[in-house]
């Protein structure tokens, strides 16, 4: 089933072209990775998919309907976003932040139901957050904050999850933990679209990769088909060797030094 259908999407900011004629289709139950250098337009693409930014031209269909025909709240029930920045100035407790994930599902002064609490508890257990529930977000370490923000998006409980470098500040243990949770969501039929800098991680988890450079799609295909050293050279201008792990049959990548 088609989740998203993007046709001739253009986006520019102050005359500068950010996305140039993007055509993409996303299907249900797949893990997508968006890969490209800094400033390639990955974050803008996610914002357009999330309905936060509007494309200057072109159409986006979300579940066969124009994305602009949805209300903000309807979108919030379908799409959750895990942002890159998570600076919070005020002393909210972790529990309060997690609860905000349920806001789109609740009326203004409605308190949470048993069903909401069940969803929240499930995520708390998945991410082992019970020890820091009562702590203030302002007193957590960077990694802890990121996991709380991640949890908040999971609690939003949407069929589509957009992840903007969601594991950038985490050690490998927590990275694998979060990626496994995303992988499980995809297995359960949800769709994950993630921008990623770690290509090995992307090769390990993503079904499908989209390479972007300077607002253009360089290539898009199954991970095992499109991940090769020619693409890496074209997108990042870096020499690399790509081989297949004998046990998992997943692609792995090794980068060569510049100096030779």
């Amino acid at each position: 089933m088609k989740i998203y259908e993007l046709v001739n999407i253009n986006f520019s900011y102050n005359e500068k072209v950010i996305l140039n004629d993007i055509n993409l289709t996303f299907y249900k139950g797949l893990f997508y990775g968006i890969i490209g250098p800094n400033g390639a337009g990955k974050t803008t693409l996610l914002d357009i998919l999330a309905g936060i930014k509007r494309a200057k031209s072109g159409t986006i269909k979300l579940f066969q309907k124009d994305i602009n025909s949805y209300s903000k709240r309807e979108l919030a029930k379908l799409i959750a976003l895990i942002p890159q920045e998570y600076h919070i100035e005020f002393d909210f407790t972790v529990e309060e932040i997690l609860l905000m994930g349920r806001y789109p599902h609740l009326a203004r002064f409605q308190s949470i139901s048993e069903y909401d609490q069940k969803i929240i508890n499930k995520v708390i257990n998945q991410l082992n957050l019970s020890d820091i529930l009562k702590k203030y977000i302002t007193e957590l370490s960077g990694g802890e904050k990121q996991r709380v923000i991640f949890a908040r998006a999971l609690i939003q409980n949407t069929p589509i999850l957009l992840v903007d470098e969601g594991t950038a500040n985490l050690d490998i243990h927590y990275t694998i933990e979060l990626m496994d949770i995303l992988y499980q969501k995809v297995k359960d039929g949800d769709t994950v679209i993630a921008t990623m800098h770690d290509i090995n991680l992307a090769a390990n988890y993503c079904d499908y990769l989209i390479f972007i450079k300077d607002g253009n799609i360089i290539t898009k295909d199954n991970t095992n088909c499109c991940l090769n050293s020619k693409t890496i050279k074209q997108v990042f201008n870096v020499e690399s060797k790509i081989y297949t792990d004998s046990k998992t049959e997943k692609r792995c990548i090794y980068f060569f030094r510049r100096g030779g």
């Binding site: 914002d47 999330a50 309905g51 936060i52 209300s71 903000k72 709240r73 309807e74 979108l75 919030a76 029930k77 799409i79 959750a80 976003l81 942002p83 920045e85 998570y86 600076h87 919070i88 100035e89 005020f90 002393d91 909210f92 407790t93 309060e96 932040i97 905000m100 994930g101 806001y103 789109p104 203004r108 002064f109 302002t138 007193e139 923000i149 908040r152 998006a153 939003q156 957009l162």
Partner: protein
């Protein structure tokens, strides 16, 4: 647990506020027993004249026409400044923001100074109030248009625009003071803030602004929570941060303008009350709004009662709040930073 402590605090604050109003109305040059004040108020509220049998008509007159307008003005201004402070801190994503950050106080002061200096008419006090209000409104329009010239408003741009406009207005006020020569005391006295000579008409005006403003802030308080998570996150949670900022900014600017117009510049309440309340119930704006409004009202009423009835001479209330509140805030700040260091 937290839900309960919120409800208990709310009820305790309401009781303290009612007691403070009765006690304050009984204090002053003419001492009136609190139970008689209670009966006078009750008879006014229930239109039951039989309750005030045996109470001197003079007492009833003092309570209703002299003390009550002043008491209610202090409560309303305290409440208005406090919940506006909560909103401004949320909108500007800055815990150090307050209702005067965007220059509303400077605008009101400039307007009032012009009225005090150049306009003498028998409407006297109302002209000053009207000019202060207009000054505040023009200031906020200037700040908003300055800050939004790039197409959207960011909190940093707003704060910067506020500082720029304030400093221009401050220079203007200094010039007016210089021109005023020996009449400068009138301006200074107004700037320091006071609730003496409040009338029912002014109370009614502030009541309207503060009540409507409070309801709007309470209605959007959950959205304000989400804004604190950043613009992208709030958008993905279905909140239009730009639009919400604009609504609350205009609302709270009007509330602050109305408060400043009748009372002069009373500092500290809008900054510190939200902080104190956060220590009790945390950062959830749905709880902060009502508690801050109540505590702001209690605080200003007590401060005004001290200067009106307890001190041998009347100290300007703006000075009093800053003198008592400033050091207290230092103390709180010290404890908090220590606590934060320990946690890290």
């Amino acid at each position: 647990m937290k839900e309960q402590s919120f409800l208990i605090t709310l009820i305790v604050f309401i009781i303290i506020l009612i007691l403070s109003i009765i006690l304050s109305a009984s204090m002053g040059y003419v001492k009136i027993p609190p139970e008689q004040v209670f009966k006078i108020l009750l008879s006014k509220l229930s239109f039951d004249q039989s309750l005030i049998k045996g109470i001197k008509p003079l007492y009833s007159d003092i309570v209703i026409n002299v003390r009550l307008p002043r008491i209610l003005a202090a409560c309303l201004v305290g409440a208005g400044l406090a919940f506006s402070g909560v909103s401004f801190q949320g909108i500007l994503l800055n815990p150090l923001a307050e209702p005067y950050t965007l220059g509303i106080s400077a605008g009101a002061a400039f307007g009032a100074s012009i009225a005090l200096l150049f306009i003498t008419s028998h409407f006297g006090i109302y002209i000053v109030t009207a000019f202060a209000f207009l000054g505040a409104i023009f200031t906020i329009i200037a700040v908003l248009s300055l800050a939004s010239s790039v197409g959207y408003i960011s909190s940093n741009n707003l704060i910067l625009a506020g500082i720029i406009v304030s400093s221009i207005l401050s220079a203007g006020i200094s010039l007016l003071k210089y021109i005023a020569d020996e009449r400068v005391s009138v301006i200074i006295f107004w700037l320091l803030g006071s609730f003496s000579s409040e009338t029912w008409l002014e109370v009614l005006m502030v009541l309207i602004f503060v009540t409507i403003g409070f309801l709007i802030c309470l209605y959007f308080s959950r959205d304000l929570n989400v804004i604190c998570l950043g613009e992208r996150t709030s958008a993905s949670l279905g909140i239009n941060a730009q639009q919400l900022r604009m609504i609350l900014l205009v609302t709270c600017s009007l509330v602050t303008a109305a408060c400043v117009a009748i009372s002069g510049i009373i500092g500290f309440v809008g900054l510190v009350v939200p902080h104190l309340m956060r220590l009790i119930v945390g950062a959830d704006n749905r709880k902060l709004m009502p508690l801050s409004a109540l505590f702001g009202a209690i605080l200003l009423l007590i401060a005004d009662t001290i200067t009106r009835a307890i001190l041998p001479w009347e100290v300007p209330i703006g000075v009093l709040t800053s003198l008592i509140g400033g050091p207290f805030f230092c103390y709180i700040f010290k404890i908090k930073t220590k606590h934060n260091e320990l946690v890290k």
